[in-house]
Symmetry: C2
Subunit: 536 residues, 2 copies
């Protein structure tokens, strides 16, 4: 049984005002009114023009377990001592059997104002879900999108490792970071618990402390190592010393740090098949790489293949190229290509810049900037009421783009001749669906003068029902996909998107439009609800 974060499915992981609102709905007899909420964001993160949706599996987990136990009810009673006791009887019966959830597939491309989730059901219960759903979807989506951007910046052929556990925002911040980095296109994590819980591949070697802890060969109690074929044991320390002489001579060096050499030797003896050394504890090119080479040659001598080095400071482009040159001098001995791994406060910009400069790095380890989403640490996802008992509802704002799109809506993605998405179209539920090969009029939701006609080659209905137990008391929604399937879906979706939407600088905005009917509906509601300011 894997460990859990019980917080993630606790119905009290919510804002106090959800409870007070639920009470006020109940008190005015409206708690069973049929409501529709949209969960969406208004702007893609990181200055980009795409987002990858994630967090659905965790959201469904929350919904599945959404029940208040007696201890929770007891705590809420304390918080609301003057509330009618009957309310708590109702609350203790609440579950999500009358809730339906429509959503994008996890790992799908998502764009502003297209609902990630549409939640339908009794007003008070759908309201109670708001904070938990936002908490689970906001960070997951942000993190996945961030990882996908790192992947675009690094290029498809590099390995990307998530190394952020120590700098992440708490234990679960770290677990989410590992999970959604993988979904967004990373290859592995250093977080062992994420490996166990989510099945993500693991990577890790050693830290500076290991190197520092050795002062010389005296720290190695037993110098013997079996050869790779297992046939005999050899004095590995002696072989390292011999190899070191060869290396020093060839590189014209007089000394390296002997504690470091001993540390590498000890590490290689523990992992003769996976020797990857951190080379910057004392001095990368004067000590670290030469010491690595000495141990690598000794390993080769015993029949093992050394793996490579990790750079953790300095000018990564320069050091990787210099290290590659040093490896080239020993190519005859090493035979295989050595891996160069780099990790030092790497952000998306650094990856683009390294690509421009040219570098010899094969693997990037990324921590802080990835897991905290430093470039933009929150996605502004919101959860807005769009319909009650079949009546559309609207949230106005002096700022037009903050006005919500009212009513229960369907969304379609329209694809062009080259099979890449052209735009997303929102229509009122019940409207005739747009058809492939037929022209469709698409309007900007807030400016009817901005309109285009699109004849899609194909189209995709974006929302599927992922939670519905209303008939059978069993979820008849679409099954959730595995993390690995979600990751593939994200990769394929991103590949389909046109390059100009993905470029880091001034990407082309991706259009989200509305049908004429939805546009008219919005205008009508706005006229009815917006107060006319009085000029005096």
């Amino acid at each position: 049984m894997n460990p859990k974060n019980e917080f993630a499915t606790d119905p009290l992981l919510t804002d106090m005002y959800q409870i007070t609102m639920a009470y006020a709905y109940w008190k005015s007899g409206r708690h069973e009114d049929q409501a529709v909420f949209d969960l969406f964001f208004r702007k893609c993160p990181f200055g980009g023009e795409f987002t990858i949706f994630a967090g659905l599996s965790q959201a469904i987990e929350l919904v599945k377990n959404f029940r208040f136990n007696p201890a929770q009810i007891g705590y809420l009673r304390q918080l609301l001592p003057q509330a009618d006791p009957e309310f708590f009887n109702w609350l203790s019966q609440v579950d999500c059997s009358k809730i339906k959830i429509y959503a994008l597939r996890e790992g799908s491309l998502a764009f502003p104002r297209v609902p990630l989730l549409r939640v339908e059901g009794p007003l008070a219960i759908a309201q109670l879900l708001e904070t938990g759903l936002l908490n689970l979807v906001n960070f997951a989506t942000l993190m996945t999108t961030n990882a996908a951007r790192f992947r675009l910046a690094a290029g498809p052929d590099k390995s990307l490792l998530e190394f952020g556990l120590r700098r992440a925002q708490g234990p679960d911040g770290a677990m989410s970071a590992s999970r959604y980095s993988y979904l967004g296109g990373f290859d592995a994590t250093s977080n062992v618990l994420a490996g166990q819980v989510f099945g993500i591949p693991m990577k890790g070697t050693h830290a500076h402390a290991f190197v520092q802890s050795f002062t010389g060969f005296d720290d190695i109690k037993n110098p013997m190592l079996k050869t790779a074929d297992g046939e005999c044991s050899k004095n590995f320390v002696d072989w390292v010393k011999k190899a070191q002489k060869v290396v020093m001579e060839k590189l014209e060096l007089s000394s390296t740090n002997v504690g470091e050499l001993a540390a590498f030797t000890a590490y290689a003896m523990a992992f003769p098949n996976g020797f990857l050394a951190l080379v910057d504890t004392y001095d990368t090119l004067q000590s670290g790489v030469p010491n690595f080479l000495a141990v690598a040659l000794a390993l080769k001598h015993l029949g093992y293949d050394p793996v490579g080095i990790r750079l953790d400071s300095g000018d990564l482009a320069y050091l990787s190229k210099e290290a590659r040159k040093m490896f080239a001098s020993f190519a005859d001995f090493l035979e295989k290509k050595m891996i160069i791994c780099a990790s030092n406060d790497i952000d998306e910009q650094t990856l683009w810049s390294l690509r421009q400069q040219g570098h010899e790095i094969d693997v990037f380890g990324v921590g802080t900037h990835l897991v905290t989403c430093k470039a933009q640490p929150a996605l502004g996802g919101v959860y807005k009421l769009v319909e009650v008992n079949g009546r559309p509802r609207i949230k106005l704002s002096q700022d037009a783009v903050k006005t919500t799109l009212p009513g229960r809506k369907d969304a379609y993605r329209l694809y062009g001749e080259d099979d890449s998405p052209i735009l997303d179209l929102l229509v009122l539920a019940g409207e005739d669906a747009p058809q492939a090969g037929q022209p469709v009029l698409c309007l900007d939701p807030f400016d009817g003068h901005k309109r285009v006609r699109v004849t899609p080659k194909t189209l995709e209905k974006l929302h599927q029902c992922f939670w519905d137990v209303s008939e059978t008391f069993e979820n008849v929604g679409e099954p959730l996909q595995s993390l690995f399937e979600q990751r593939n879906h994200a990769k394929q979706s991103l590949e389909q998107l046109r390059e100009d939407h993905k470029r880091p600088l001034n990407p082309t905005p991706y259009k989200v439009s509305v049908s004429q009917k939805l546009y008219d509906y919005l205008q009508e509601l706005w006229s009815a609800e917006a107060p006319i300011p009085e000029l005096k």
Copy 2:
């Protein structure tokens, strides 16, 4: 039994390389070597000159529970299939009974390079703790410091509420944010689970959705409300309608949004003693505040005291002042002062700016910027080996400030005549302690020419032992304090610190110095370990 985040005390919540290093130490027979690690940071966050240490209670919880169960051992075996099986026997016996932890008190002022934690014990076990301790201390300390900065910016008399759950980095990111915001000086949270688990006061009212969900008085099924003295029921809806006429006439308005008025009425009927209305769903001054006043006057008529309003958009300084003027017109009816609460993407800078402009806000609700620490989303705390078997160890760096201070060290805070701290002094353990009233020579650790002599009025030894079960198999360390005590300690510590260290712009750096002996020690070790670059 409160719910838990089991991730937070799982020994697998660590970087893979801690496991591989532990194996390499074990393999070279060095796992029981006596090590000392310092956990510290190099720069105060947010461009400031102070930090508040937090995370100790969670760190001790981790240490207390640090044991690998068979499932965890099984998983690690899979990850390291070629490792010697004996290693896993050793690993399954590992616990922290031979570890000692010295630390600052939680809630203390902390400064660069002064260890937050000093961890002593067997090399491999102390190494295994690295990532978990960093994860727990880094974010807790960052978050607490961020909250303290918001408190300084808001001023001591304002209420500060943490509203960040929906934008926090996952469920536990949110729980940590609530906990450490409170430690850093916030008054309450909206996060109900944090209220239950940590005993933090709760706050919350209602959201836009509640207002939107009402279209008119028809949505209120029963218009009757008991008077405050409980003696009779009155038709509250009628009273609201009457009061509205009075308000509209006095404010010279012709209409407000009737759905909003109905929503406020329903909310007041649910919480007649705690009526606080969100007034910006349609238009703050044209609709929201007048509608609030209508309901507030009706409540007064039935003997209840309304509470106030919440602003969630627009120019908060202007709107709060205008709302206050409108309240003034009804001062005779309202009697008490109405609370004005504001919440809309508030950051530290906004709080300072509002103070300069003048405003009428009593309570600030702060979300995203607080809980994600948007201004700097990670603290660069590190965990460095400083001693093995009594031998000092050093981590060099071309960047001098990244060089570690070797050896087991004690730290003292020196206080001046006005009882505010002057500087922190690091000395080698075993050196004579500095004495109150006696001059002490204090050197910059990396530049011996920068030195000062201080004659402290008083001084404080900063580290206490919080974990030591070596003799009795019971923790004989200092007891941990409650969250409430930690919060008071943080408040008092911050009050003692001189204003110029705390100001937001160009604060005076707070000095962290070393003794002559530690300075010499560092120089000596540096000369011995640093490679001399070869000029060719």
